[in-house]
């Protein structure tokens, strides 16, 4: 029996005053998996998320969330998803607890459930002490966690996260990653946008690379790295004296070998894991002592450069407006 995909984008297009923010994007997200939408500022990631979460109406194309059509059954779609927007959309004037009460009563959840879920979520997100403080006193990381708690109140099976860690310090970022991984373990499907290559590599099962409103590549992080060029075997020797002999041995399996004297490191092209194990067994029988042997794949940054001809911005523009419609075109 096939499980219907959690999210499907079907040839989505969005124009803003003649600008094509999204220009025919399709992808499928299986249930329980994580899709990373990776692309620079203005690639159309936010617009995609806004269309799939029924905030924005596509110019053409459609999508399905939990099997429901975003145009035909928007209310069913809204029941099935949680959304954490780019600018944490918590109400600053309300306390953390009131924020959950507000959203809970808009979902029509029973009061008792809201109270229980609030305790549970605040304990989980380490917000217990801040529960009765106005959200404007929260740090950036706390706001994101509150935003996430609000999004999870009705236990949605599918969670959309628009640049969940933009603007967070590294510690808050890895804390949030941990929470997201836990959610996936529990069976939640995640669709997240990011400009951080590292983040997509870390969290996503599948990555869709978007640039200028189009999909320019898709696949697992490994597949994408393979596309950007060959992997290489990197061998570090224990004794520099063995370098010549080792290079000779490697050349039998990998025509081009690069030798770095100072670091006693040899780098050769490799087709994949098979080549690496072959080279490893050669060294095993040769008796040359090794400090390290491993396979190095190109980073996603290399992938991006390869695909687009320009580097992905790894930091948001200084002073960029994080309003909900800055992605794509300003309407």
């Amino acid at each position: 029996m096939n499980v219907p995909p959690a999210v499907e984008a079907i040839d989505l297009v969005k124009h803003f005053d003649g600008t094509k923010a999204v220009d025919g994007v399709s992808f499928v997200v299986p249930q329980g998996s994580v899709l990373g939408l990776l692309g620079p500022n203005g690639a159309g990631k936010t617009t995609l998320v806004r269309m799939l979460t029924t905030l924005s109406v596509p110019t053409s194309g459609t999508g399905r969330v939990a099997g429901f059509d975003i145009l035909e059954q928007p209310n069913e779609v809204r029941r099935s998803l949680g959304l954490t927007g780019q600018a944490a959309t918590v109400d600053e004037i309300l306390t953390g607890r009131e924020n959950l009460k507000l959203i809970g009563s808009l979902y029509g959840l029973p009061k008792r459930y809201i109270a229980e879920a609030t305790e549970r979520l605040f304990a989980r997100f380490d917000l217990v002490d801040a529960a009765d403080r106005m959200a404007k006193t929260y740090s950036g990381g706390m706001r994101r966690r509150l935003d996430l708690a609000v999004s999870l109140l009705a236990t949605p099976p599918i969670l959309f996260l628009d640049e969940p860690t933009t603007g967070l310090d590294p510690q808050s970022r890895s804390g949030l990653w941990e929470v997201l991984r836990e959610l996936v373990t529990e069976g939640t499907t995640l669709v997240l946008t990011t400009q951080y290559l590292e983040e997509a590599d870390h969290l996503a099962d599948e990555i869709v690379v978007v640039d200028k409103g189009r999909v320019i590549a898709a696949g697992t992080p490994t597949q994408l790295k393979d596309r950007a060029g060959q992997a290489s075997v990197v061998v570090t020797l224990t004794h520099a004296a063995d370098l010549d002999q080792a290079a000779e041995l490697m050349r039998a399996h990998s025509p081009e070998v690069h030798v770095e004297l100072g670091s006693r490191r040899l780098t050769g092209q490799a087709g994949g894991l098979g080549d690496m194990t072959r080279i490893a067994s050669v060294f095993e029988t040769s008796g040359i002592e090794l400090d390290d042997l491993g396979l190095a794949r190109p980073s996603l940054d290399d992938v991006f450069l390869h695909l687009t001809g320009h580097r992905a911005e790894s930091e948001p523009r200084a002073g960029a407006d994080n309003g909900p419609t800055t992605e794509g075109a300003t309407p």
Partner: protein
Amino acid sequence: MTTVRTTPPALAERPPIHPPTLVRASMTIVWRNLLHIRRMPEMLLDVTVQSVMFVLLFAYVFGGAIAVEGSNYREFLLPGIMVQTMVFSSAIVAMGLTSDLQKGFVDRFKSLPVPRPAVLVGRSISSLIHSSIGIAVMGVTGLLIGWRVRNGVVDGVLGFLLLLLFGFAVIWLGIWVGSLMRTVEAVQGFMFTVMFPLTFVANTFAPTESMPSWLRAVAEWNPVSAVTQACRELWGNGPAAGPDAAWPLQHPIVSSIGWSIILAALFAPLAVSAFRRRSRD
């Protein structure tokens, strides 16, 4: 479908979701907006301190210089200034809406299974409550300086109902402007530019008889004048309009209701379509 995991881990059980009706959702929004006022009472400065200041400035600084036939100026002033406060609720609703749009609250709201008009209805009701607080503060100020409702309870209440009706009508103008503008500052600038001539070129602060005839015509056909005249007559705060006044002032109650309907009929469709358009992006 070959890559689909056939057995996703079991999800935690979902709580029962009973999407609220328009009324319940609007009430939730009102609760939230009133909580904002309670947390930031300074939001009320516009309708409290500012209005009291206006009452006192006009009553004591200009009052002596403005002659009103058949009434004293403070009595004459209060209905006018109350209508002005009511008109300002359109600025209040516009600023609130723009801020909700700007800060992503409307987006969050739209991602929920909730009737979408609730955000507008809730905003309108809380803005009317906001203005009504101002009316109450002004009423007390008025009572202290000699203003009275002289024509009995029924007429008195009718006057306040007309005020609310007119407030409801101008709120659509606010929703329209709020949906079109991008920042609270822009809304503020625009609304006050519109509000001041609208509320001053009228019979709010001075009788229209002494105005140049073209201006007098504009002032007397200004909806603000009709509502002001209606309240004055209902509360016994001023004489009926003279025979040479424009038709709306001769029939102030009917024209107040009429103007309210016309304004709502004009601005409500514009407001809803602007909000929808804004919401589609």
